[in-house]
């Protein structure tokens, strides 16, 4: 119930945070909204000696139109993304996934940067991030770099973030409207399977979360879609190892992936 003791440092700027990350190495963790980190610390599954709070860095907040991209600051909360008219107009697959995270209270505090960095395999954003081909902007001691969505999620709770890097922004291409469908794990309400589908050109992008240890683009579906249309959903689990747990066998998860993909494609 009570975390282990830690030292608390409040960063005024991203650079300051990065410098401390360098100083403390893997003894330190970054705090934005804290709604993935703090629960883990309360159960003492995570015990950082130092917590670097970036939650007050204003530069990391906000949603801006930049040409044909929406630039979303890493500290933007799920509630703001879910209700943003800009996101609704240009990338509603992201607002749909944001609106399905946790509950009202969690959405008021949790941030997109924090959620993406944590990379829970059952999180909601990854499906939408992949389907919209978003770009994640990270900053380290050498400056900023851009990571494509499909390169960002590397494994369970593992991303392409290097040791001293922090997510600063998510850049979502406009024209990323679509459908996000989620089958909720009944207890945690995380995604047992979550499918985001976005029309792109004559085809479709499909991002799937919750089904495997890493969220993925359902390439087999995308490739078959121009010929088979909605029927292409049957390839949703192809070539991917499904997770197995108390709520879903691998077989059932694969089945859900196919069903949700089909329903998402039908709704597009």
């Amino acid at each position: 119930m009570i975390p282990a003791t830690f030292e608390y440092k409040r960063a005024q700027t991203v650079e300051e945070a990065i410098q401390w990350l360098g100083q403390y190495g893997d003894e330190a963790k970054v705090l934005a909204g804290g709604h993935s980190l703090i629960p883990s610390m309360k159960l003492r599954l995570s015990r950082p000696a130092v917590l670097i709070d970036i939650g007050r860095i204003e530069a990391l907040r906000g949603i801006r139109e930049e040409g044909d991209v929406l630039a979303i600051g890493a500290n933007t909360t799920h509630a703001v993304i879910a209700s943003s008219p800009l996101v609704e107009a240009h990338a509603n697959v992201l607002s749909q996934s944001a609106g399905s995270i946790g509950d009202v209270q969690v959405r008021n505090v949790g941030t997109i940067g924090g959620s993406l960095a944590h990379a829970d395999p059952a999180a909601d954003y990854p499906a939408a991030i992949l389907a919209s081909e978003a770009v994640i902007v990270v900053q380290g001691p050498q400056g900023k770099r851009e990571v494509r969505a499909e390169d960002f999620f590397v494994g369970m709770f593992t991303t392409a973030l290097e040791e001293q890097e922090i997510i600063v922004e998510v850049r979502v291409p406009k024209g990323s409207n679509g459908v996000y469908l989620k089958f909720k794990q009944p207890a945690s309400r995380f995604a047992l399977v979550g499918v985001a589908a976005v029309k792109r050109g004559g085809g479709v992008n499909v991002g799937i979360t919750g089904a495997s240890d890493t969220p993925y683009r359902a390439k087999a579906v995308e490739q078959a879609y121009p010929q088979e249309g909605v029927e292409a959903a049957k390839y949703a689990a192809e070539g991917v190892e499904m997770l197995e747990d108390h709520f879903a066998t691998a077989e059932y998860r694969a089945h859900l992936a196919r069903v949700l993909t089909r329903r998402a494609l039908e709704a597009l």
């Binding site: 119930m1 009570i2 159960l43 089958f183 009944p186 207890a187 709520f247 059932y252 089945h255 859900l256």
Partner: protein, 794 residues
């Protein structure tokens, strides 16, 4: 009746709750208080080789660290109900030490306790206690625990059975009737294990006063006096008058706060040991490990029918998990609160139930809302509906064929069952008819058929239930092994200015007694409800009472209060007669006044009260004062009953069940506050929906708890359920003065069967016959797959 009874009076409790001024045990802070953290076993079964507390003792803020090797290890918490083997052998009762000695027998069993100046320091130090274990094989399934070679939970016994019990008609007769029946319906299933999850975690504060050599124990309990008795007489051996138990507001119980737990006794012992007030409040994770679980029966049940669909026999064989130790009421739950309900609402002539109750390496199992009766109703209602479908009969018609005809217990005698109990009053067909008029059954069947043509699967399921509550007649339960009486106390004190204080042994933890008991007293006395206060939860204010559980408070607690008010009215009449210079027989009491019949000469309740305390002009030989206490021991259980229906839609692609409609018709006898009764039905029904669709405690084969938090244990949420439609019939209880029966558990008893019957009804055309609770989307989907591949049961 009067101004208040039968009306939905707003609750007096609510002002403090809606403003955050409730006083729950964890809210209490005492000067010098220290905090406790437990070190708990990570293994389901292990030998304790050594415990090293030296680092913990040296940690910052630590006041003391104790293990089973200290004096507290000599003490153990008792079991309060003895159920012996059917062959006469005594029930096997292992010692349940406050801290594990030598061995641990379930994950979470407390092994050491750390006391420190702050909660955080106690937690930090607890991590420094080093325990060396030798892991041993474990068994978690109650049936597997009885297999030869199963790991033994308690070495002093030859096998894992706590007892092997049966009830009902002669088994051979019942088996013969089944063998000769026109049709037998058979079900094998597990009654899923549940965690109670009152939202307030358990909390205890013990404050030992060395000057008075007396403890005050603040506890989140459903029954303060019972705790005091068990703690003093059975656990710590303290003189009973030396412990003052105080329980203010309690945030839900559902059975889990009845029991006398080890932590409660330890905190009490620790307070004297360290000479400071000691507090412990459970984490939710600890609650999952330590708060007694419910249900967990492995069931083989059969129901035999004749050609007309009349039930000829019911036979059930069950393995009912006790967990690693016997908790306070545990043996009674699958026996005398379960087998005794196997008559149901039906005229079944032959019934036999056999229960083997094994120990396993799991959390102890005890009463959880419904306590034995949901299990009985589920068994009967699944069997009768499945039987109807198998025989091509309508599930409503088959029930009507089998219902016991109406009886009121006054003109027509109570119904004697084959399983010990005698029902008090009932009109079962009346409740079902009322349900059908609300549900429009014909219309639904038409909708169902139309939907099937569109590939949508709707289903309707019924549950006609009866339960035994208002526990209980002391002599009866004593003969059945209870080690306590189950009466209640009601003390009514009138003050000189006519204000009334009611001291009840019942202990509301959400039921609204402060309002409903005041309604009764105010109406009987014809005074304003604002002039009545209800006091509960304090062993120094209230004489011995047995507490609130088993839907007993109104039937037993309320009746005790009625008796005392009657005594007050009786004495008041004598005082009034003296004042009015007439005979007592000349008076009538109404609207708060004694009036000489046929005149307008009267004297008010208030005037009589003042006279009783200022007895200047007063009947000779009459004592001053207007203050009476009564103990009420019911002559029988009470038997609420009802008919529920659930209408569901199943998404056969995903297995997700949506409840479209839930209708509950309940007969709880007379109703004091309809709003409160409806609230109990809503809550009870949703709790049962939780069992049917969502909740399950799961252990792996090593006894590790896989569902130890809300991340894995599914609680019902607001978007899981619709509004619950409620209605009532009223068949008064003939044997208590209020004519009430009790409602707290009724919803939980009825709803699982209604839900599962509905899902099976929806999926019957696909070949599905039974699905194991909880009906998670996975299980429903698997059942559909299996049925379409030729199998029919999951």
């Amino acid at each position: 009746m009067g101004k208040y009874i039968g009306k939905s009076v707003y609750r007096v409790e609510d002002d403090r709750f809606v403003t955050g001024k409730g006083k729950y045990t964890d809210d209490i802070v005492l000067p010098g208080m220290v905090y406790v953290a437990f070190v708990r076993s990570p293994y389901a079964h292990a030998r304790i080789l050594s415990i090293d507390t030296s680092q913990a003792r040296a940690a910052e803020g630590v006041v003391g660290v104790f293990t089973g090797e200290d004096e507290c290890g000599q003490y153990g918490v008792p079991c309060g109900w003895q159920v012996n083997f059917k062959n006469g052998e005594t029930m096997r009762e292992p010692k349940q030490p406050l801290l594990a000695v030598g061995k641990v027998r379930f994950v979470g069993e407390p092994v050491a306790v750390v006391v420190a100046e702050s909660m955080a320091q106690a937690r930090d130090a607890a991590e420094l206690v080093q325990v060396d274990y030798e892991e041993l094989p474990a068994v978690v399934d109650p049936k597997a625990a009885m297999e030869p070679g199963a790991p033994l939970v308690h070495d002093e016994f030859p096998d894992n059975a706590a007892f092997d019990w049966c009830l009902g008609n002669d088994r051979a007769e019942v088996e013969a009737a089944l063998a000769n029946a026109h049709h037998v319906t058979e079900l094998r299933y597990r009654q899923n294990r549940l965690a109670p999850n009152a939202i307030e975690p358990r909390s205890y504060i013990a404050d030992y006063n060395a000057v008075e050599d007396k403890w005050t124990l603040y506890t989140a309990t459903q029954n303060p006096h019972l705790i005091r008795l068990l703690l003093c007489a059975f656990t710590l051996g303290i003189p009973e008058h030396k412990v003052h138990v105080v329980s203010y507001d309690v945030g839900g119980g559902f059975g889990s706060k009845i029991f006398h737990y080890r932590e409660e006794a330890l905190v009490t012992w620790l307070s004297k040991q360290v000479g400071r007030p000691v507090k412990w409040t459970a984490d939710r994770s600890e609650a999952f490990l330590m708060d007694c679980h419910g249900r967990d029966h492995v069931v083989h049940a059969r129901m035999g029918f004749d050609a007309e669909g009349k039930i000829v026999a019911v036979l059930a064989d069950e393995y009912c998990n006790m967990g690693a130790y016997l908790s306070t009421f545990a043996p009674a739950i699958p026996t005398y609160l379960h087998g005794t309900l196997f008559q149901g609402l039906y005229t079944t002539p032959l019934i036999h139930v056999n229960v083997i109750a094994p120990f396993t390496h799991t959390t102890p199992v005890d009463a959880l809302r419904g306590a034995g009766r949901p299990e009985a109703t589920y068994l009967l209602e699944r069997l009768i509906e499945t039987g109807a479908r198998e025989m091509g009969m309508d599930p409503v018609e088959i029930r009507k064929k089998n219902f016991i005809p109406p009886f009121d217990g006054v003109e027509t005698p109570g119904y004697q069952t084959q399983v010990a109990l005698q029902y008090d009053s009932g009109n079962y067909e009346g409740a079902l008819n009322k349900l059908l008029s609300i549900v429009d059954y014909e219309e639904f069947r038409a909708q169902q058929e139309a939907a099937r043509k569109e590939g949508r699967y709707l289903g309707i399921g019924f549950s006609t239930y009866i339960e035994a509550c208002g526990i209980a007649p002391s002599a009866v339960v004593g003969a059945l092994g209870a080690r306590a009486g189950l009466y209640e106390v009601g003390h009514v004190r009138v003050q000189p200015t006519g204000k009334v204080s009611v001291y009840t042994g019942s202990h509301s933890h959400g039921q609204g007694h402060e309002t409903t008991f005041a309604q009764i007293v105010a109406d009987m006395l014809g005074i304003s409800i604002d002039d009545v206060e209800v006091v509960h939860g304090d062993t120094e204010k209230v004489a011995f009472g047995m507490g609130t559980y088993g839907s007993r408070s109104l039937a037993v607690g309320g009746s005790a209060i009625v008796k005392s008010v009657e005594k007050i009215l009786e004495k008041g009449a004598r005082i009034a007669a003296h004042k009015l210079e007439c005979a007592v027989e000349d008076l009538e009491y109404s609207e708060g006044k004694w009036t000489v019949k046929g005149t307008d000469r009267s004297v008010s309740f208030g005037e009589v009260a003042l006279t009783a305390y200022v007895p200047h002009v007063y009947p000779q030989g009459e004592e001053p004062g207007l203050d009476f206490s009564s103990f009420y021991d019911p002559v029988n259980f009470t038997y609420p009953f009802g008919a529920h229906a659930a209408i569901v839609e199943v998404d056969v692609e995903t297995g997700k069940v949506q409840i479209l409609r839930y209708v509950a018709v309940d007969d709880v006898g007379n109703v004091i506050n309809p709003m409160i009764v409806d609230g109990q039905v809503h809550g009870g029904v949703v709790h049962g929906i939780g069992q049917a669709l969502l909740e399950e405690v799961v252990y792996d084969s090593d006894g590790q708890l896989l569902t130890g938090s809300y991340m894995d244990y599914t609680m019902p949420r607001a978007d899981d359920v619709p509004f619950i439609e409620t209605d009532r019939t009223t068949t008064p209880c003939p044997h208590n003065p209020l004519g009430v029966k009790g409602v707290g558990e009724a919803g939980t008893i009825a709803s699982p069967a209604a839900i599962v019957n509905a899902v099976v009804d929806a999926l019957w055309p696909l070949g599905v016959r039974d699905i194991q609770m909880p009906l998670t989307p996975l299980r429903v989907w698997q059942a559909i797959q299996k049925a379409s591949n030729g199998g029919s049961q999951v």
